[in-house]
Symmetry: C2
Subunit: 139 residues, 2 copies
């Protein structure tokens, strides 16, 4: 078990790492996420029909998006970290702002694994929140 101080330190470290990767992502640079991801990363998002297994598959996908994503401003809302010994789950809502002020809210889950003192992402799951793209209307 981790002390609450250790838990808080891990939380801040992971949130900061994620924020840095998001900053690069929002300027067309996927390398932040690629550097943060482990070789056996597993990836899900709402634009691909099946799971991506492994860093080479994620790299191919992200390289196809290099230079194509630009967000003038983003927020990492309501982050929460669960620490499970040598793993941790970060969940948050990502809000990107378009030039016209439109917001695009997402749900994000990142599962990190601690290996040789380094926290690396082993699982990523992106999805739209209820208020985005009318998903909530389906109920």
């Amino acid at each position: 078990m981790h002390t609450s101080e250790a838990h808080e330190a891990i939380s801040q470290q992971l949130i900061n790492a994620e924020r840095l990767a998001l900053s690069r992502w929002c300027h067309g640079d996927p390398s932040g996420f690629l550097e943060l991801s482990a070789g056996d990363v597993v990836y899900l998002d709402p634009f691909i029909p099946t799971r991506l297994d492994g860093l080479p598959a994620l790299r191919d996908y992200y390289e196809s998006l290099r230079g194509k994503v630009y967000t003038s401003r983003f927020e990492l809302h309501n982050p929460f970290v669960q620490v499970l010994e040598n793993a941790a789950v970060l969940t948050y809502h990502f809000v990107a702002y378009g030039d016209d002020g439109d917001t695009f809210p997402w749900n994000c889950t990142e599962v990190f694994r601690l290996t040789h003192g380094e926290w690396k992402i082993v699982h990523t799951h992106w999805s739209f929140t209820a208020t985005a793209h009318g998903n909530g209307a389906a109920h």
Copy 2:
């Protein structure tokens, strides 16, 4: 590290537990997932605007759906389990079939924690896959 036999046994155990909870879910009974979830479970799906934190919040939500979900047939596609010492990440595609044969594909992530010999869900993330609800068209 787990041996491949231990990994395979854990994988099968978690997939079987998930399948059992899904079977109950598809007959209007959310208790399978509630029994499988830990007290500090964190939950995301595309119908709620923010994360649910903790089993009481998940119970309130799931009880509001009791008796309202019915799926004649479902498939748990392409399950994959990553074992991280005392945690494990199960990802799969869930396909529910409507009476008219329509399919509703989802992405699912379950993070399990092993505590006192029991695997319990500490994080759930449901979302629509690209082929569902026209998400793919947004690109």
